[in-house]
């Protein structure tokens, strides 16, 4: 593998796996050329090339944001981005992972925050420096309109910022490319937590259920199940009434003695 060919430096054919495999393509990891199978993701290509990943590898499934990668195709002025675990290699790509990028993060007490513009400006005054260049949006591997949530946050529309940023994996690519030096994803999670805590109404049914449990309503029913022998338990299990798939939200079971 890793048949290294750089300028005049060429590995002898016979010593390389490249000689027998026809599906290999060249990629340039941090400028150095490696031959890797064309169907691999960038992450697996690193491993094929001989790296044991420590940084830049978490979920391997596109959700943890550990594997932010930037790359450029030869002859192109465009910088592309992607998650290494989700992006398939392209022949001749020049790439590097950016597994960490320092971004400002405020320390705050969620209980005390209010859902207004001043709150965000207090903790993240740099919001005002956003120059609307839209680089963040163009570089987000999750295709989030990042600039839109930044401006929503700036306007004080916390809920909007929360909703737009919901699928943010906190990979940090936006922050790495922002000329105003914002840490967008930290601002975003603050908006989401304010929304979840202070803007969206609390679920009353949860409060009610907790109260019911605390009043020991279910102690006896559960005790019965704990004591039941296997036969009884199996019978109760098999005969329990199923809420139909298409039942409306306010559906109620026939037997209400155990609820």
């Amino acid at each position: 593998m890793s048949a290294m060919v750089q300028g005049a430096v060429q590995q002898t054919e016979s010593s390389s796996e490249a000689a027998v495999r026809t599906d290999l393509v060249p990629i340039f990891i941090m400028g150095k050329r490696y031959m890797v199978p064309s169907t691999l993701t960038i992450q697996k290509a690193f491993e094929y090339a001989g790296y044991q990943l420590i940084r830049g590898c978490g979920c391997r499934g596109g959700i943890c944001g550990a594997c932010a990668t930037v790359y450029r195709m030869p002859g192109s002025s465009k910088i592309s981005v992607g998650l290494a675990c989700q992006t398939v290699v392209l022949p001749n790509m020049y790439l590097t992972m950016v597994p960490f990028f320092p971004a400002n993060r405020a320390v705050y007490d969620l209980e005390e925050l209010k859902p207004e513009a001043q709150t965000l400006m207090k903790y993240y005054p740099e919001l005002a420096k956003c120059m609307g260049c839209n680089t963040c949006t163009k570089s987000c591997p999750m295709e989030i309109p990042v600039m839109e949530y930044v401006s929503a946050a700036l306007r004080g529309d916390v809920e909007k910022a929360a909703e737009i940023s919901m699928s943010c994996v906190m990979c940090g690519i936006c922050a790495s490319r922002c000329p105003a030096e914002l840490g967008q994803y930290n601002i975003a999670i603050m908006c989401r937590r304010i929304t979840g805590r202070h803007i969206w109404p609390q679920a009353q049914h949860v409060v009610e259920m907790v109260a019911k449990i605390d009043s020991h309503r279910y102690d006896k029913p559960l005790e019965q199940l704990m004591k039941a022998d296997l036969e009884t338990l199996r019978k109760l299990y098999v005969e329990r009434q199923m809420e139909p798939h298409t039942a409306p939200e306010d559906w109620t079971p026939d037997d209400k003695s155990m609820i």
Binding site: G58, G62, D109, M166, L222
Partner: protein
């Protein structure tokens, strides 16, 4: 990209049977579910756990004689990375009240609660804080919160039935009664569960549930919980310190045998560090990256079962480790998405599983093990699997996601499953229009270290929380009960450890005698002397490269 021409052809058969299947679903006519006896039969014949050679009896340690997966037995029957005769326990590098091992959901919840008890906390974790299975959970979290139709009583029944009635009933009772509190706690921390405008939470069915009680945040429920807990831990930076890329590789005791800290390994500088702590909470999660029976896995990179072996050496027994959970619906196409989980909610929302002819062969809401066994049967025995392009001898079946839009209205798939929708779109597949090709994938460690409802174990000072523990799910966890498990038992373990710390006066002399004894047992049994564990990172290296690493020395999978 997208599907191959052959697959597009086969999809036509699925499209042909779809209208009728949708009609039946609308009319409430489901494919017949298996009876309990049929379930058992299907498991014994087709589930990977029952294959010859999948399990082996442990020959040493507290659970000697119990059968566990071969790959786990290998890590148990192995030497420590620490040499008891070489280690210098006098030089302590960190001191704290509570050491949490593992920065996933259970560990972070535990850290928060221990901090609330007044403890200083260190979280030592293998990768970054939050690089964990918790981050990957999609579907949701179970809790009986709707008292007009549900209660802990029914939740209890469902959990027990799913686990084949072998679960530890005390643990189950604790989990189902604490469940609504766990939801309320997460809501208070700002988790954005899907809700109606009045605050009422959306809930769905999961496999094996009799009431719709799956709470969720889009298809990123675990990520929403994980990043919220992590964010909160970061707000408490004064009391909660996090050491990333610092996996624990061995536990420490004092001369009385109480757990008193751990040895950490800095993956980047390759140094070992000693942490002295009054209480240790093990929250290292699962073990999918051990690739039981060679299956692909949905788990994150660090899921190598480290906590199991550390706890086992310390003297804590294990339960239900013979049962590995295979998630019925892992992607098998395209190759880059292989092993990736397609949440059960897709089936909960009504999508059928169909074979190469477009015919249903199993009710889509059977418990996971039954569903997986049925898919394996359809492919291996019945021979109606769909051949996976480019992979000779591999088959899958269709998960008919387009049904969801037909049942619930156009745009539902994109709205309810945004992460998977984007992912497949990247590969040129619109899952609201085309079905997904799936096969069972290694997903969850049903069993683990034995622990009590308050998180304590038989070793003083040692607590367990989350997927590393075993008992509450019996031999088969139902979807949505794990995010619940880690929140409930993470909180309880944190609380108990925090209280324990207040009463513990001091730590005596640090010791690794338990490792010495364990090594002696290994030697006497003449097993595993050439292996080391925990594994820490799986080996996905290229053997060709290794051959040329002339001067490199590997200990286990680590260089």
């Amino acid at each position: 990209m997208g599907y191959t021409v052959e697959l597009m052809d086969l999809i036509k058969r699925v499209e042909k049977t779809r209208p009728e299947r949708v009609m039946k679903k609308k009319a409430g006519q489901e494919f017949p579910a298996l009876t309990l006896d049929q379930r058992r039969d299907r498991l014994e014949k087709y589930h990977p756990d029952f294959r010859a050679g999948a399990l082996r009896e442990l020959r040493i340690g507290p659970s000697r004689g119990i059968s566990v997966a071969q790959e786990i037995a290998d890590t148990f029957e192995a030497r420590s990375r620490v040499d008891p005769d070489q280690i210098d326990l006098n030089e302590v590098h960190y001191e704290t009240d509570v050491l949490v091992i593992g920065g996933g959901g259970a560990g972070t919840a535990a850290a928060l609660l221990a901090q609330e008890e007044g403890s200083r906390v260190i979280i030592a974790t293998k990768l970054r804080h939050g690089d964990a299975n918790t981050m990957m959970a999609e579907g949701g979290m179970q809790a009986a919160t709707k008292s007009w139709k549900d209660s802990p009583y029914y939740h209890f029944l469902d959990v027990m039935g799913g686990g084949h009635f072998e679960n530890d009933p005390e643990l189950v009772r604790t989990m189902v009664t604490e469940a609504p509190k766990a939801i309320a706690w997460l809501e208070k921390l700002g988790c954005m569960f899907n809700k109606w405008p009045d605050g009422k939470m959306f809930t769905l069915h999961g496999a094996g549930t009799c009431r719709k009680r799956m709470h969720y945040a889009g298809d990123m429920t675990g990520a929403e919980i994980m990043r919220t807990l992590r964010d909160e831990a970061r707000n408490r930076v004064k009391d909660i310190g996090v050491l990333e890329f610092s996996p624990a590789v061995e536990l420490l005791t004092d001369e009385k045998g109480r757990c008193s800290g751990a040895v950490l390994y800095n993956l980047e500088t390759e140094e070992y560090f000693i942490v002295k702590a009054k209480a240790v909470i093990m929250a290292t999660g699962g073990s999918g990256r051990l690739h039981m029976s060679g299956f692909m896995t949905t788990n994150h990179y660090g899921a190598t079962g480290d906590g199991l072996v550390m706890g086992y050496r310390l003297g804590v027994g294990v339960r239900f480790l013979h049962a590995t959970q295979y998630h019925p619906t892992g992607a098998v196409f395209p190759e880059q998405a292989e092993g990736l989980l397609i949440t059960e909610k897709v089936r909960g929302a009504g999508a059928n599983l169909v074979n190469i002819d477009g015919d249903q062969f199993v009710f889509e809401r059977e418990p996971r093990d039954i569903e997986s066994a049925s898919i394996i049967r359809e492919c291996e025995k019945v021979g109606k699997g769909v051949p996976v392009p480019g992979q000779v001898g591999r088959f899958g079946v269709w998960l008919d996601s387009p049904m969801i839009d037909m049942l619930e209205g156009e745009g539902t798939v994109e709205r309810e499953f945004p992460a998977k929708f984007i992912l497949f779109k990247r590969y040129g597949i619109d899952i609201s229009k085309l079905p997904m090709l799936i096969y069972p994938t290694l997903h969850y460690q049903n069993g683990g270290l034995a622990y009590e409802p308050d998180g304590s174990t038989k070793v003083e000072g040692f607590f367990v929380a989350g997927e590393v523990g075993g008992g509450v799910h019996g031999a088969n966890r139902l979807m949505g009960n794990s995010l619940l498990d880690i929140t409930v038992f993470g909180r309880l373990a944190g609380q108990t450890a925090g209280k324990f710390v207040k009463d513990r006066t001091g730590i005596g002399t640090l010791s690794v005698d338990h490792v010495r004894r364990y090594h002696k047992e290994l030697e006497e049994a003449e097993i595993g002397l050439d292996r080391v564990s925990p594994m820490v990172l799986p080996d996905y290296g290229n053997p060709e490269v290794r051959k040329r690493q002339w001067t490199s020395h590997y200990v286990g999978t680590l260089r």
